[in-house]
Structure formats: structure tokens, C-alpha cells
Symmetry: C2
């Protein structure tokens, strides 16, 4: 396998983007990444997207991508793994370059979610769960994660305040990120007293509905310096694992086994231990998710994710900074774009170009964890500056 | 890049499969392929599927695949490129093994299309065209291919009988394929006098709505003999290209540029010329498509696809046998499964295990061409027996 590096990143302002189509969002982020890399074309393109069919009546993004970016006949391939679509697309692009089949490969992540009403968006997102054994019975994702939260609270005495602190921390970071959907602080009381969605999760424990895209450009590591003048950031590890799609079939409702396995694979490939990681972007689709993820990664003891958050371990200036970008919670969660935006953030941090107040000190080795469904698929990448 | 071989194939009976879900279809074909290879697990899985969201309310097939096949935590990734989803998934699996990241990779193609009514199926398929510039104005795929047919007929004097002959030939082959959706002959008169869909294409010029799945297992070529006792079939070439998604933006309405480019790439990788190919499976979603594809591949002169078909060049015993399986026309077209089933057929033919009457003589080098939309994406693979 060839070593792979990131030589370009691009991301548009996330939010409710009424004036642009999904095709426009893809093209915009692609052109930003080309500009960052100083290139005008690539050899292949991957597009991570969960459900452009249900959200925008548009499949065939493997064709839309190159066409709207103006680079036909460059081949394009859409990759889907629910909310881990972006991470899975990054992995596909990584394997493509590593194989030697092409040199310059772009990965775009995208989701245009606000073209449908809230009920249809909730339904579209629920297609990431088992349609026949979960959704048919009426459960959607806030309900699934609420069950995970209740299990975690019962088993480990995780408190309501600890859950809420995840939102408080991530909004504090996202406030400083000009591309984030929400640039505002929230307080513990605001989170706890917000509209209840699924007990114990209020609306402020949930990531929002977002339109957005992000793009990265990969190339063989030994060619990176000749293409880009920016700091070379290598993709040192990539891991991917699955778990049962049905939450009910797991041995432990509040432990993310697929994240544990994906992280172990990525760390092994990178020749690193979790203690070597300087900072992480993780999949906080709900506040409880971030707590479960840091535990599954091995960054904190299982059951201690809540107290660790409260104690500032995962703050920007903490021992293991998590979601300095604002995370899904504040930056927004256009599902297919999220995993690619995590890599954009890792590169920004490692280049030292994140905004003041949310730049992690000595950010050299970063980890990105992206997951689909209630953790039925997880993708972990480790990036390191040269 | 490592050389890659196919060591297992599986395909279920295609048709209107009311008694099975999309998850069942994936698992069934996966288990058939594992059985054919003599394996009980793989290192990674790819699932080619166009629109499980719109057809079955189920996304996240990268999780459904490993889970329903009973091989969690094996990672799964869904790949989509409209009707070329299967071919794109094969290419992803090929690149994965070629990269050295994993040894045994399964690729499943699937579509469950009959859970929705005809109008919704037509709408779901139309999401492979440009939603804003084509579908919004009322055109769906029979209309797009009818325009291509009329252009070809006007430019090259292609006749109605020549179009119909594609259906006659492919049904003759499919009649002998026990897994095909339709095992029946059709005559030129039946095709021409069938219900008109979009002039000049009647219902018998169109591939059907189908439920089905197919699976192949790939491994490094140098390990194939130690795993399987069957004839080793290598993936010698893989090519992928895009074109504008909108038909109206092409220079030539009836020439498939993306197929030409993908074929050139695949032939170059394989170190072959089109004259070396013994037989092909191509994307005859409509009768006119097969004629345009054999021209774009360079197997017949541009404009001569119609007469060549009428003269038997593409018959099982012809100079360039095309769709000995029955093609999409008779075997069926569960869109995401089609490209994978083409590889299943190539392996069957090269192993010499196709049914009597449709087995191509001296079938050693085969080509598979799979395309999305009106040719906005094309994937070509070349397989060769050792």
C-alpha cells in the first residue's frame, strides 16, 4: 500500500442553504478543495451521501459530482453508509490512492436536508435503522439514542448534567467556527429545559438538520510536497467495522463495539496508541453519543465519559480535546458530509489554521470517528502532520 | 497493484420476489457466493445498490449486508452509481484487494424494485437523470433512450427491425438461463407490435422491473488456487468514466463517450485490444442501448450496431457474442445487481459452466460493460481465465 496524504480541503458555510441545490453544494466544496490544493482537476472522485434520493429526488451523484465540478470524464462513485457515508467515502478514496490505480482523488461529502419537511427528514434518517424490525415499530433515532442514554445512566450513574455538558462544550467551540451552522453558546439549564424529544434527550441534545458539503483531495504522500506548498498531512490509519443494525441485538446497549474495532484497526495501521492522539473529531449526533464514543475509543475508562466531559478532559485545552470544530451538535450534521468535514477539521488543526480559541495546541496527530445508525457502522481515520 | 481474481459467485433466481426483503436477497446471494468459494467469512463487503431508500425505505446497506449475512464486525460499504452501481461496487472491491488492505472481499449487487408501484418505480429510476434539468420537465428513461434511438435511426439509418432483433436475440439466450426473469422467446413482430412506451420503443424494447441480487468474492490472484479448486478467473482490467448527466449537453446524442473511455482504460490495463475479447455482457437497458454500446466498445463500426445485430455478429455463436446470459432484457434488471451479475456470468462462461446452448465456445476473455443513467457513468471490466 502506498502512503497517502491530504493536499486540499474545502468546506462551505453550513446551515439552511435555500439558494443552492445538492449539485451546487458538491461543486462549491469541490472547487474550494481544488483551489486549496492549487489544482484544476483530479483523477477520480468519491461522493459520500446518505440519502440524496429521499432528501432531493437525486441519485447518481457519481455522475453529478464530476459533471457539476466541470471535470468530466473523471469517474465518480457515491459511497453510502448512513451517517458514516463521509468516513466511508474517505476510506474508499484512501484505498484508491493506496492501490496505485490513480494519484489524485477527491472525496466530497454532502447532504441537502432542508428541501423536505421535518417529518420526511426524520423518516429519511430512520432508513439508517432496520426498516422491518425497528422503524416499522415506530422508533426513530432520537428514540434509539435515548434508550442508549438511559442504559448508560442506569449502568454508570451518568447524569443529566454530564450529557448536557457535551452540548455546552461543543457550542462553545462551534461559536468560534465561521462555517458552523450555530454560532451561539448554550447553558446547562438551556439544554436541560429545552423541548423534550425523547427522554432524557431534549432538542439541544440532538444534532440539527443541515445543508452542507465538504471536500478533501488525496494523493500519494511522496508526491504531496511537489503539488502543495502547505504542510503535508498524512492519512496514517484507516479502520472500518460493522455491528448489528438492530440496537436490540447487541450485548451491551451503550457500548459502541464497531467504534472500538475500527479504532483498533486504525491505530494499529498508524503504529499508534490512543494516548498518542492529540485531539479528535467524533460523531456527537446526540450528546450521549460523544460520551459513548470517547469510551469506545479507549480515551477514557468505560462508564467515565460523563465525568470526563464535566471535568474538561474533552475541552479544547483538555487532555483529549474532542470536537474543537463544534462537532455535529453546533457545526451541523449534513449526514453524508460529516465524515469528510471531520477530515477537513483535522487538516486545519494540524496545519495550525483553526480559529483562535478553538485551535488545539500542538495538534499534530488527530483522530476522526464517524458512525452510521446507532453504531452499526464505524469508520476511524488517523491523520498526522509531517 | 496486486493482481485480483474471482473465487466465488452467487446469484438467486431473479423476478418478482414477493417473499423476500432486500436484506434477505443480499444475504442469500452472499451465502451462495461463500458456498461457491468454500469460505464462511470475508474481510470486507461492498454492496452495489441504486436506490434502496426510494424502493424499500432502507438505506445503510453497508450495515445490512454484513449483519444479515452473519459476518459482523466485517465492514460493509454501499456503492451507488445508478444502474452502474454493481459495476462501481466491483471496481471498489477490486481496488480494495489490489491495494493490499484486505485479502478476501465480497461484492454484492442488489435491488428490490417491486415493493413499490410502477409509477413510483419509474420515479425512483428517474433519479438517475438530472432532477432539475431533465426530470422536472417530465422526461424519464424510456423517453431519454427513445431520443437516443431516434437520433441513431436518423443518423445511421438504423431500422426498427434491428432494434427489435436485440430483444429477440437476448430472449433466446435468456430462455436457457434458469436464473433469468423471463424464459421465453419473443419475435420481431411481437416486439414491434407490443404496447408503445416511448416511440420507437415498445414495452419489449425495455428491460423489466426486477427483484434480485448477485455476489462475487475477490482475492489476490496469487492466493486464489490455495482457496478455491475452481478455475482461476483474473480481473485483468478495470475502467470507469463519466459524461454529462444531462443528455442534452452531449455533443452526440447517440454515442456513449463514457463507455468508450472506460473500455479503453480497462483494455489498456489488461494489455488487450477489443479484438481479443471472446464475449461480452453489456448494458441493454433498452434495445438501442446494446447497439450503442457495441459501437462505443469498438466491437463494430459506429453506426453499424444495428446491421451487426441483424447479421448475428452478437449472437452466442457470432464473432462477438453479447449477453449470452439474456442481458438486462430477459435476465432482468434489478439495477444495483446488474453489474455484479455480469461478472457472475463472465466467470460462469470462463469456467465453462453456462447452460448448453448459451455457453460461448472458447470463452476465455470476457468483458462486462455497465452504465448509469443515459450513459453518464460507465464501468468496464475484463476477466480472463488462467
Amino acid at each position: 500500500m502506498r502512503d497517502v496524504a491530504v493536499i486540499g480541503i474545502g468546506m462551505n458555510k453550513w446551515g439552511e442553504v435555500w439558494e443552492k441545490s445538492i449539485s451546487d453544494l458538491i461543486a462549491e466544496s469541490a472547487l474550494l478543495a481544488l483551489d486549496d490544493a492549487g489544482l484544476d482537476k483530479v483523477d477520480a472522485m468519491y461522493i459520500g451521501c446518505m440519502s440524496s434520493g429521499l432528501f432531493t429526488d437525486q441519485e447518481h451523484l457519481g455522475s453529478i459530482g464530476p459533471d457539476y465540478a466541470g471535470i468530466c470524464p473523471t469517474p465518480g462513485t457515491r459511497v453510502e453508509s448512513a451517517c458514516a457515508s463521509g468516513g466511508a467515502a474517505i476510506r474508499s478514496g484512501f484505498l484508491h490512492v493506496a492501490s496505485g490505480a490513480s494519484d489524485i482523488v477527491m472525496v466530497v461529502g454532502v447532504e441537502k436536508m432542508t428541501d423536505v419537511d421535518g417529518a420526511k427528514a426524520t423518516f429519511a434518517l430512520a432508513t439508517a435503522a432496520d426498516q422491518e424490525y425497528e422503524v416499522f415499530h415506530g422508533v426513530t433515532f432520537p428514540g434509539l439514542y435515548a434508550m442508549m442514554a438511559n442504559h448508560h445512566m442506569n449502568k454508570y450513574c451518568t447524569t443529566r448534567d454530564q450529557l448536557a455538558q457535551v452540548a455546552v462544550k461543543n457550542h462553545k467551540n462551534g461559536k468560534l467556527n465561521p462555517l458552523a451552522q450555530f454560532q451561539m453558546d448554550v447553558t446547562l439549564d438551556q439544554v436541560k429545559n429545552a423541548v423534550m424529544v425523547s427522554d432524557p434527550l431534549t432538542i439541544l441534545d440532538c444534532s440539527p438538520i443541515t445543508d452542507g458539503a465538504a471536500a478533501v483531495i488525496l494523493c500519494p504522500a511522496d508526491k504531496a510536497k511537489s503539488i502543495s506548498k502547505k504542510r503535508v498531512v498524512k492519512v496514517k490509519g484507516s479502520g472500518h467495522a460493522s455491528d448489528t443494525i438492530q440496537l436490540a441485538q447487541r450485548k451491551d446497549l451503550s457500548y459502541l463495539k464497531s467504534t472500538e474495532i475500527a479504532a483498533k484497526k486504525a491505530l494499529e495501521m498508524a503504529g499508534r496508541k490512543i494516548g498518542d492522539i492529540n485531539f479528535a473529531e467524533v460523531h456527537d449526533c446526540f450528546t450521549i453519543a460523544e460520551i459513548m464514543v470517547v469510551e469506545a475509543l479507549g480515551a477514557v475508562e468505560v462508564g467515565k465519559g460523563g465525568p470526563a466531559t464535566m471535568d474538561g478532559v474533552t475541552a479544547v485545552d483538555g487532555k483529549f480535546p474532542v470536537n474543537a470544530s463544534g462537532g455535529l451538535k453546533s457545526k451541523g450534521h449534513p449526514v453524508g458530509a460529516t465524515g469528510v468535514a471531520q477530515i477537513v477539521e483535522l487538516v486545519k488543526q494540524i496545519r495550525g489554521t483553526a480559529e483562535k480559541g478553538r485551535q488545539v495546541k500542538n495538534a499534530n496527530i488527530g483522530l476522526a470517528q464517524n458512525m452510521g445508525g446507532s453504531g452499526a457502522s464505524s469508520v476511524v481515520h488517523i491523520l498526522e502532520g509531517e
